[in-house]
């Protein structure tokens, strides 16, 4: 119990540190958002507009950094992230709400599939060590894992979307896909997700595969497996009860982290495929010096990573009796 309490304490403290850094860091970037906007208009906006924009964005009367910090923390507790500057006057929370489903759907689902598929292949590859297929999987996995995924994505885009026109070039949906959740809408969504999903899967399965294979090989050498075999347990029982459970533990921690990072989206994938997720908006907010949006997205990433870690800690208690006994 004290283990869980300690973890919870660390969680709250880290979250506060993250929120504070989140306040400080964007303010260290040189330049101010109104100048960036004036520059972006490239002469189409009269310089006299600076005053108007400052009033509109509430930048004309900011107060001292200290009072800014406390009102920032207060708003954070109330879930008020202010209004986006680059997408003014859209409230930041609306932008997040708009982008989050796409990121969770694309990156989240893909991460889970990738973990399950990679771990299954890794288990096979480790357990059947010496077989042609099992050993052949390792170099293939290493090769695919080392491939830069934005580059792989661009190639897929060129061949399957541009040359063959089997898949759409960009976006998450057709311009007019029909009513939300109708059959046409689903088919449009899946067709748009196909290439990004495939790109992430192909380039990330390898990592899970290698980790799992190594764990399995380690576990396979343990005495308790020899004992289990000697007892005459079935292969299936040995794998599910003894090998998998032990080999999965290290992978599981990494998986928790990966799930946390899902919220940040996959910036490069989302940019290559013009996929309107959080990573895409994060990139936009940084280039536009959109502090409120930047802060909100960073905050959600920090929150998700910390929550995922906390969850992994909790689940580990269930999975690993050593932690339960207080030995770890």
């Amino acid at each position: 119990m004290s283990y869980l309490l300690r973890k919870l304490g660390i969680f709250v403290f880290t979250l506060w540190v993250a929120a504070t850094l989140n306040f400080v860091l964007p303010r260290l970037v040189p330049g101010d958002p109104v100048s960036v906007m004036l520059a972006k208009y490239q002469g189409r906006l009269d310089p006299a507009a600076v005053d108007a924009l400052k009033i509109a964005y509430g930048l004309n009367d900011l107060g001292s950094p200290v009072s800014q910090y406390f009102s920032y923390l207060g708003n954070l507790l109330r879930g008020d992230f202010g209004r986006s500057i680059s997408l003014f006057p859209t409230p930041v929370i609306d932008v997040v709400r708009m982008a989050l489903p796409y990121t969770l759907g694309l990156i989240g689902v893909t991460t889970i599939i990738s973990f399950v598929l990679g771990s299954a292949l890794g288990l096979y590859s480790g357990w059947r060590r010496g077989g042609v297929v099992a050993d052949g999987l390792t170099p293939v996995a290493l090769f695919l894992n080392a491939m830069p995924y934005f580059w792989f994505g661009l190639i897929l885009l060129y061949v399957f979307a541009f040359q063959l026109k089997w898949f759409p070039l960009s976006g998450a949906l057709d311009p007019f896909p029909g009513d939300t959740y109708s059959a046409g809408w689903w088919s449009s969504l899946l067709r748009h997700a196909a290439l990004p999903v495939f790109t992430i899967l192909v380039t990330s399965v390898g990592g899970w595969l290698i980790t799992m294979r190594n764990n399995v090989i380690n576990v396979a050498g343990e005495d308790y497996l020899a004992f289990a075999r000697a007892k005459g347990l079935t292969e299936r029982r040995i794998i599910s009860r003894y090998v998998l459970r032990n080999a999965l533990l290290p992978s599981f921690t990494a998986f928790g982290m990966a799930l946390g990072f899902v919220v940040g989206g996959s910036i490069l994938t989302e940019i290559v495929f013009s996929y309107p997720g959080l990573g895409f908006y994060l990139y936009q907010s940084v280039t536009n010096l959109d502090y409120p949006l930047m802060q909100a997205i960073f905050f959600f990433i920090a929150l998700a990573v910390l929550l995922a870690n906390l969850l992994v800690d909790f689940v580990n208690v269930l999975l690993d009796p050593r932690i339960r006994e207080g030995q770890a």
């Binding site: 101010d32 490239q42 002469g43 509109a56 070039l169 976006g171 895409f280």
Partner: protein
């Protein structure tokens, strides 16, 4: 709970729900016959049809298809096209501008438009300074009144004739609806009512659609039934949509339009000049505070080479006078010749007191070696980086060392505006239908600031009483001859003092796919300035295109 009556009611309710859904989708399914598709390389924000939203996030149809302004002023040649205004005149003392508004125009809710709506719109900007993004009420305007249903009178405390460009472009909104809008900078205007050729139809993150306004005041127009905007996140993706025919028009700054046009017989572009790329000198820093040094540097730069290498021959070198090609006939007394001459530059620099040492490197006036100067450009902007490379090679020949300083947007614009740079490449931070806008933004003391503070647009921090006075003369008269004389003073002073080097022309990036429509603007038919899709120049494009 098991009351049969309730179940019956439930059944009825669900039946009617199904019916409504079916009818709704039937209405939704009546697809417009001809749809003109526009691609953008940036994503838009949440649904918001407010034409006054400060910033670039009014949904695109708002300013170009739904709302109309008084006039359209073509930035490449200064030509004025009437829209809701039919004619305009300045008084003798240039303190009154009288605009006649169009009769017989109706808002899309059926009510009539008159000069009162226009007067209301301008006064509305006065009550909400956050919306006044052209600074109309800070530039001498003192009152706007409708003296009758078709006459609109602008009064000025101090004359300011160049303001006409901004008055002309201000969107006009219906008084009967907007008088109740109390928080206009965050108002999302879900049901926009305008006078424009299109009405709002649907919004999603993927696409925006507007449909033809059947009661539009211009008879028989528009010729297309709908406009659709689609978004990509990069220029390359947008270019692919244009090539594949998924889009008919896009305002996309790709690096090589000639290659784009060569890829398909239907692909074409029109990139008319309406701005200039400059090499700015930070004139508060030595040795750039010395006009002699600046002139030597300027003479050493081969602007033709700069333009050819940066834009693959699609864009020309800029006029040394910094006047756009379409405006030279009107504003330039004699054509300005290029000053490029390496030998002369070399001699000029030595004569100005910057001698060379034994190894050919140039020394400062104090005899110490000059440092390597940084040329500020945006990170990854290939055109500007190429320019900086050519300039670096050119200056090397006269013994001046440079390096390229690539910075992200914030640091780039911040560096230029706060004066922390040596030399920087950027566009003209003002531009318009006469050269006044370029020079006013660049050299008006009002737009300068001490080093470390943000100068809105006087990036070189150069001011000169002769220029300031001529700018003032220009803006307080509507007499063409007086304006021409003032402009000659400005142009010749700037060329003599050389606070910048005009490098290359800068263009509007209209890309077209002509497979389905005709009537695109071109050099032969410049009815607009190849305008961006969300400006009131684009409205003319949407009115002119016809299905093939």
């Amino acid at each position: 709970m098991n009351n049969p009556m309730t179940n019956k009611v439930k059944a009825l309710v669900s039946l009617s729900l199904i019916l409504t859904a079916a009818l709704g989708s039937a209405a939704h399914a009546q697809n417009p016959k001809s749809t003109f598709t526009i691609v953008r390389s940036t994503q838009w924000g949440a649904q918001n049809y407010n034409p006054y939203v400060p910033g670039d996030q009014h949904l695109l149809p708002t300013n170009s298809a739904i709302y109309e302004s008084l006039f359209f002023v073509n930035s490449i040649n200064g030509k004025v096209t009437p829209v809701l205004g039919t004619k305009y005149a300045w008084s003798k003392d240039n303190k009154t501008l009288t605009v006649t508004t169009r009769g017989g125009v109706k808002w899309t809710d059926g009510q009539g438009f008159d000069a009162g709506d226009a007067a209301f719109s301008f006064n509305y900007l006065k009550s909400y300074p956050a919306l006044d993004t052209s600074g109309l009420w800070k530039s001498g305007l003192s009152a706007v009144k409708a003296t009758n249903a078709s006459t609109l009178v602008f009064s000025f405390a101090t004359p300011n004739t160049p303001i006409f460009q901004y008055i002309a472009a201000t969107p006009i909104v219906p008084q009967h609806l907007w008088k109740d809008v109390k928080d206009p900078s965050t108002f999302t205007n879900a049901k926009p009512v305008g006078t424009g050729p299109f009405v709002a139809d649907s919004y999603s993150q993927q696409a925006l659609r507007v449909l033809k306004n059947p009661n539009y005041w211009m008879e028989g127009k528009p010729s297309v039934d709908a406009l659709v905007w689609i978004a990509t996140s990069t220029n390359d993706a947008a270019q692919l949509k244009l090539l594949s025919g998924e889009a008919d028009f896009g305002y996309v700054g790709i690096s090589d339009p000639k290659t784009y046009a060569a890829k398909s017989p239907n692909a074409s572009y029109w990139w008319p000049t309406n701005n200039i790329n400059f090499l700015y000198f930070n004139t508060v820093k030595a040795p750039f505070n010395d006009a002699g040094f600046r002139k030597g540097v300027a003479a050493a730069i081969n602007t033709k080479e700069v333009a050819d290498k940066a834009y693959a021959g699609a864009v020309a070198a800029a006029s040394p006078a910094a006047v756009f090609p379409g405006q030279q006939k009107e504003w330039l007394a004699n054509a300005a010749k290029s000053t490029f001459d390496v030998t002369a530059a070399d001699k000029a620099l030595t004569a100005a007191g910057y001698k060379k040492d034994g190894s050919g490197n140039r020394l400062g006036k104090d005899g110490k070696a000059l440092p390597s100067f940084k040329i500020l450009v945006g990170a990854g902007w290939t055109d500007f980086i190429t320019m900086a490379q050519v300039i670096g090679n050119n200056l090397k020949k006269v013994g001046i060392n440079t390096s390229i300083d690539q910075q992200a947007w914030g640091s780039y614009s911040g560096g230029l505006q706060t004066g922390s740079y040596d030399m920087g490449i950027s566009w003209g931070w003002g531009n318009g239908s006469t050269p006044y806008y370029t020079f006013n933004a660049a050299f008006n003391p009002d737009f300068s600031a001490p080093v470390g503070k943000t100068a809105p647009s006087n990036l070189s921090r150069y001011t000169n009483p002769a220029i300031t006075k001529a700018l003032d003369t220009f803006s307080t008269t509507s007499n063409a001859a007086t304006q021409q004389k003032a402009m000659t003073t400005i142009v010749s002073t700037v060329m003599k003092e050389q606070p910048w080097v005009p490098l290359t022309d800068r263009v509007n990036f209209g890309l077209f796919n002509t497979s389905k429509f005709t009537g695109f603007p071109s050099a032969a038919d410049p009815y607009n300035d190849s305008s961006p899709d969300d400006t009131n120049g684009a409205r003319l494009l949407y009115l002119n295109v016809k299905p093939k």
